[in-house]
């Protein structure tokens, strides 16, 4: 009952032009930041932070949280329109979002990603409100063995990402894992595969690699084929394709809700991240779909699964932040600094000492989702026009975006060369049937998997993965999920032969 009263009070604190303006500004800025490759959600929150110093604590927090929430959705815009995920969590969105755009259904890709993000965001926040304290207790008990098993579970999605090329996909995932070991070893400090380059001490920066593998490889692939020899014009262009109707969104309810719950749960675990949430949800959606063979070719379920999960993970990431003061992601780490600037200490005491602030924040997150829906609906009519830009203009622009995005991460030209290198390698690999997604998966999960594995062994020996029940269950799931596509393929082959 207390919770309901606090929540009502939280909503009432938003009645006013200033809170609504703050949320709207945060949402618009967040979408913008998320859409730009090279700018991450944490960067967006950090950039907004100085502007909020003089604001009251409540306004400051709701603005920054709106940026965090909206930037996870923003990444899907460029993922769908130009196959350049603006954030790592939008990688899985590109798998089906971009093929939809290529089929002339960019409206579908953008519409589904928006609505799924909003629904996912809602569900994540509701779970946060109702279950924050018990979930936090679980999160803090996570052992490195469980983190390793979770990372391995994420890697099993390579089996479904690879499609018919299972072994090629597996080889690419291993390549991604190998590339993730480049740099200073986090435990022993050994320089691994750095070739004397200081720039490689931290390994390959993820964003340039991502832009190269997705955007540049696609550009080079398009350049191989004969481009339409048209002067093209933006004037008089019609919006490409139709937009989903409400009944179309209703058909995606199962996958959206299941992905939202999974995304929230994964977001709770510090360090797990929205990218893992979106990959796992995509994989689960594919496994539970009636038409799994259409994933990767423009199935809206894939878009919905990824976006619902990455938006729901925001609510999950707020659980350890608010209840324990543990940042679950880079963005929440910046939020902690915002809390401290306003003399607020995140943790269990925050709920009891400042319930108005906490529940006002929850209410603002719900309102931010609604505002994001409106801003997204208005903006989508504009974003979709990107797909109508002639190739002769779009291709140079994509390369320019790739260069700027790669450079902006660390103000380094080395990262731009890395981006180009990954672009060329990605083009050649994709050309001969080696999929890109597993490389990215390996790069994303490699550090988490290795660090957790080694910590777990140091703490409990090699047997710890099997003696801890949660880890054992996750490992069994890994074996099952990994072998299922191969077993299915073998059965299909037998059926076809007979």
């Amino acid at each position: 009952m207390d919770m309901v009263n606090h929540l009502i009070q939280g909503f009432s604190s938003l009645f006013g032009i200033i809170p609504i303006l703050a949320i709207t500004a945060g949402v618009v800025f967040g979408i913008w930041v998320g859409a730009m490759p090279g700018l991450s959600p944490s960067m967006g929150v950090a950039l907004m932070l100085p502007f909020t110093f003089r604001m009251p604590a409540s306004i400051s927090l709701i603005m920054l949280t709106a940026v965090y929430l909206a930037s996870n959705y923003g990444g899907s815009i460029t993922a769908v329109t130009i196959n350049t995920p603006g954030t790592p969590s939008a990688i899985a969105t590109a798998f089906d979002g971009y093929p939809l755009a290529r089929q002339g259904k960019a409206g579908w890709g953008l519409g589904v990603s928006l609505v799924a993000s909003v629904v996912g965001g809602f569900i994540g926040i509701i779970i946060l409100i109702l279950f924050s304290k018990p979930l936090a207790a679980v999160a803090v008990k996570m052992h490195p063995a469980e983190y390793f098993s979770l990372a391995l579970l994420g890697l099993t999605s390579v089996a479904s990402l690879g499609g018919k090329n299972g072994i090629k996909a597996f080889a690419m995932a291993l390549l991604g894992l190998l590339l993730s070991t480049i740099g200073l070893d986090p435990i022993s400090g050994v320089k691994r595969f750095t070739f004397g380059a200081i720039e490689l001490f931290d390994g390959f920066n993820f964003i340039p690699a991502l832009i190269g593998l997705f955007a540049l490889s696609e550009v080079f692939e398009r350049l191989e084929t004969k481009l339409p020899n048209t002067s093209g014009t933006l004037k008089g262009a019609k919006a490409e394709g139709e937009w989903p109707k409400i009944r179309d969104y209703w058909k995606l309810k199962r996958v959206t809700i299941q992905s939202s719950v999974l995304g929230t749960v994964i977001g709770i675990f510090p360090g797990a991240g929205s990218a893992i949430a979106s990959f796992l949800s995509y994989d689960l959606a594919k496994r539970t779909s009636k038409t799994p063979e259409t994933f990767g070719q423009g199935n809206p379920e894939g878009v919905a699964a990824s976006e619902a999960a990455n938006s729901a993970s925001v609510g999950g990431a707020m659980v350890p932040l608010l209840t324990l003061g543990i940042p679950g992601s880079a963005s929440t780490a910046v939020l902690i600094s915002a809390l401290m600037i306003h003399d607020l200490v995140p943790g269990p005491m925050l709920f009891s000492q400042q319930p108005d602030l906490v529940y006002g924040l929850f209410a603002s997150m719900l309102v931010a989702n609604i505002i994001m829906l409106f801003v997204g609906l208005l903006g989508s009519r504009l974003w979709v026009k990107v797909t109508l830009i002639p190739q002769q203009l779009l291709i140079p622009l994509i390369i320019s975006i790739a260069v700027v995005g790669s450079f902006a991460v660390k103000n380094s030209l080395f990262d731009v060369f890395v981006c180009l290198g990954f672009g060329v390698a990605g083009w050649l690999l994709k050309r001969y049937g080696f999929p890109m997604a597993p490389i990215v998966l390996g790069l994303v999960l490699g550090n988490l998997a290795e660090a957790s594995f080694r910590r777990a062994v140091i703490m409990g020996g090699f047997g710890v993965f099997f003696t801890r029940p949660a880890s054992l269950i996750l490992l069994i799931l890994c074996v099952v999920f990994f072998s299922l596509p191969f077993i299915q393929a073998h059965r299909d082959k037998k059926k076809a032969n007979s």
């Binding site: 022993s188 691994r192 004397g196 080079f220 004969k226 050309r431 049937g433 020996g461």
Partner: protein, 187 residues
Amino acid sequence: MSSLAQLGNSMNTPQGLLFIIIVFIGYLFLSGFAIKKAMPKEYRGQTLVIFALIYISIVFLLITYSFRKSGQVTAAMLPRLWIFGILACCVYLLINILRKKESRDPESGSFKLPLLYITASIIYVAVMPLLGFFIASFIFLVASILMLHYRRWFIIMLISIGWIAFNYILFYRLFFVSFPQGFLLNL
């Protein structure tokens, strides 16, 4: 230090990297020649890719012997696990190719334009410290649009100048990204 460790150590240097790249180019040429003689046309491309993966794996494996050993799980353990996995996949794929069970290479388009663009992109980034980001980007955009036979000059100028202005306002002024200035702006 064992000889393998010494070899790995010498490879994990800038000179070592240059040597690896030169050997890699030679290796690719030789492999390409051998593959052309031995393999049917529809599998040559992916076979070359597999050979490249094998080379990279072996090089990385040799380098792991230079890693200092400490603790139960050394710095070399997981890289080696991934490397052996890649090698196993490569062997499996090669066997499949020899049995003609793998999907064929796709129809090839023209490599001319992608290679031209790759070269242009490398030159663009290489001259950026000299000319500065804004001038280099303007030249790159105009040149790369013209390379694709687009000739509406008004649109070309609009896009190029608009892009420069966008980056100047958003990234340079708002986000304080330190783009290379080049010698012209530093005069």
